[in-house]
Symmetry: C2
Subunit: 420 residues, 2 copies
């Protein structure tokens, strides 16, 4: 079963917002076995929306549109939807009562003419009732293709996809199993890796397994994908191929992960070993803490972070000695070490990591080259430090430093594992 995702709005085209809606929809569709073959962002004009719907007609089984369902004049999706199906907009009583209630109870004002417009839908459409907002989802079928229009507000869209659309899809479509398995490798470049695994890579095509290389900051993720009817068999085939791969590159093979980063693996190992962690962040500015707390249940191991951005805060909050800063510079392994030790003591944890660096574009309180980052890791056994240069721009330095912290933590925790 094939699907296309259409996101509507000029803000997506001029770079004003980052589209995360289609990311969510894509991952949800893949999970139930619906293959997304294309996604497109179009202008919020009737012509652009109509032409895009026509283009996918009978080319895919399902088209999901998001956005352009608000009450204001710039939102034209519903009108276009009705026109595409030669239908007219009629007042939907249940939606009307829902909008009225929302206005009166939540916004404390009577329903307005503009609110009432939200209750109008194409007469022949199936409503995906939106309990968490005013704009309903709409589903209509033309020939071989089902079209679904969803609001662009992320949590309303997510609610409708998980609660209304996915149940509809699994009931009405013949679905294949799609299995994607991603493995992390580190310490080897993309092209050298490809040379080492060439024969193994060639063996995949006989099994109809597709291999993709996803390089990222000194790591290469390898994704194996296969679509078919027998999910168990596919999983076994891929599992077997992964075992072969591990034997082929034991020094670089980190582990199988369906997440996009090492973070989940670090999180899992912290829980396994019942270790607590704190972070002292300067140049990463809270990014490490934020990623840890983005995971549900992280309070089991994450105690907190001291984001000591200013040099004097490193002294005041973490107890870094001023003469060490004066002697070695604030961007130095000596300071990274003191920060890690200081925050470990402050939050009374088993492990602590620290970062201090010049993210750029200008040098701060240190003469060290722009892009330089020192990382400290304090464990129950010892405190280690290491220096990297991640170049420029600023955003890359911060992102690369955070990645490196996960990798260093992973290495420590993995070795810990084998010692048990």
């Amino acid at each position: 079963m094939k699907a296309a995702i259409v996101t509507i709005g000029d803000e997506l085209l001029i770079g004003q917002v980052i589209d995360t809606n289609s990311v969510f929809i894509g991952s949800m569709l893949e999970e139930v076995g619906c293959s997304v073959i294309e996604k497109v962002a179009v202008k919020d004009t009737e012509t652009a929306i109509f032409e895009t719907m026509s283009r996918y007609q009978n080319q895919v089984d399902l088209v999901i549109l998001t956005g352009g369902l608000g009450p204001t004049k710039d939102d034209v999706t519903k009108k276009t939807f009705a026109r595409y199906f030669d239908d007219e907009l009629v007042l939907h009583k249940k939606v009307f009562l829902h909008v009225k209630q929302l206005m009166e109870q939540f916004y404390k004002r009577p329903i307005s003419e503009m609110n009432i417009q939200q209750a109008y839908v194409p007469s022949k459409c199936k409503i995906l009732f939106n309990e968490v907002g005013t704009a309903p989802g709409m589903l209509m079928v033309k020939e071989q293709t089902t079209f679904v229009s969803l609001p662009g507000v992320p949590y309303e869209m997510k609610y409708l996809v998980t609660e209304k659309l996915l149940p509809y899809i699994t009931k009405h479509f013949q679905l294949n199993a799609i299995v994607h398995t991603t493995v992390l490798t580190a310490g080897i470049g993309e092209s050298l890796l490809a040379e080492k695994i060439e024969q193994w890579e060639n063996s995949l095509s006989a099994l109809d397994i597709k291999l993709s290389y996803l390089p990222q900051f000194g790591m290469v993720r390898l994704r194996l994908s296969k679509t078919g009817t027998d999910e168990e068999q596919i999983k076994q085939q891929i599992h077997h191929k992964m075992e072969e791969l591990e034997q082929l590159i034991p020094d670089f093979f980190i582990g199988i992960s369906n997440a996009s980063s090492l973070l989940d693996e670090v999180s899992r190992l912290l829980k396994v070993h019942q270790l607590t962690i704190a972070t002292a962040e300067s140049c990463t500015g809270g990014s490490i803490a934020r990623q840890l707390t983005s995971l549900e249940g992280s309070s089991a191991y994450f105690k907190g972070s001291a984001v000591t951005y200013a040099t004097e805060s490193k002294v005041q909050v973490l107890g870094v000695q001023q003469h060490i800063i004066d002697t070695f510079s604030v961007v130095s392994e000596e300071v990274a070490k003191e920060m890690a030790v200081g925050v470990k003591k402050l939050f009374q944890t088993d492990i602590a990591v620290s970062t201090t660096g010049n993210a750029g574009p200008l040098k701060g309180d240190s003469e060290k080259e722009v892009g330089t980052v020192c990382i400290g890791i304090a464990t129950p056994e010892k405190t280690e430090t290491v220096t990297f240069n991640f170049g420029q721009p600023r955003s890359k330095v911060i992102e690369a430093a955070v990645h490196k912290v996960w990798f260093l933590l992973y290495q420590y925790l993995k070795q810990k594992k084998s010692a048990i």
Copy 2:
């Protein structure tokens, strides 16, 4: 001048990565007056890429493709590019020497057969020389349309766009001025706002100005856009319309901003007033600190943050009194107040903000309802606290709390402004 952006890779379709490349390209093209009318993500197969190129042929002036230029077998863009132009791949000597040098100096190993492949390009293409990576950008023209292929690695793509592609565009194309101006409003819903400004909105069409509503967490951004030849005249027209709007809704009009959030405005006002700030974050887990440090030059006002995720860390690090936690619960305005006061003292700043809440999905150390967030703001004058419920899911609670912090800081700083 019209453009389309094509991003290549299955990872974009299955929701494995968030596409930020097209966001960057879109904003850069708009800045030089090139209007992006569509962007599309396609599978990394020759068929998908070829068909997409054909579809835009003579429909737009410029097509920018990113991704699929790596040395491995899953990367097929270059092959497809050559085929589309009936061209053959030939070794480019300058690129070859550059790749060889990169391998020898940076990776400390001889150039391999696979690396050499990166130096092959279509014989008739114009090279966009990639000083920061191995894969060159390629530019070719067919009939009315110029096609450009760029690597998908973000910093290589950004380098080639800013250093090579934009100069080419401004030299070879007739460009219009595109002016987008975004204004922030807050404290009024989208539909009520639309009713209040209906007549003003109607007056825009006579000037060919397009209005878009962009609602987001209790704020509505209004974007005015116009394309034309006389940039100064357009700017004046939009400026005049914005003045009218401010008079129409003085209580809700926050200010003109070409950024997507209040953060830039808060940052600007902190600098204007020479005030320093620290944050004490529990449920937001470092997100506030991270956003502040993402801005260049933030070290002028941001001293640091205490991410006290665990309840005991609020006591140990910030000096929150245990009996206050026991009496009022860790998610309470009383604790938010102590956190703000504590972090202000710890980092010795003028202002401090604090967050403590239940982001969910499960309740933590507090019995307060999931979604509840208490925010504290300590200023030189006083400390205030406020409670919100942002519902679910977890990611929305965190994002909404951060937005609310910017809004509260903005309100404080704006009032401060008028007092000077």
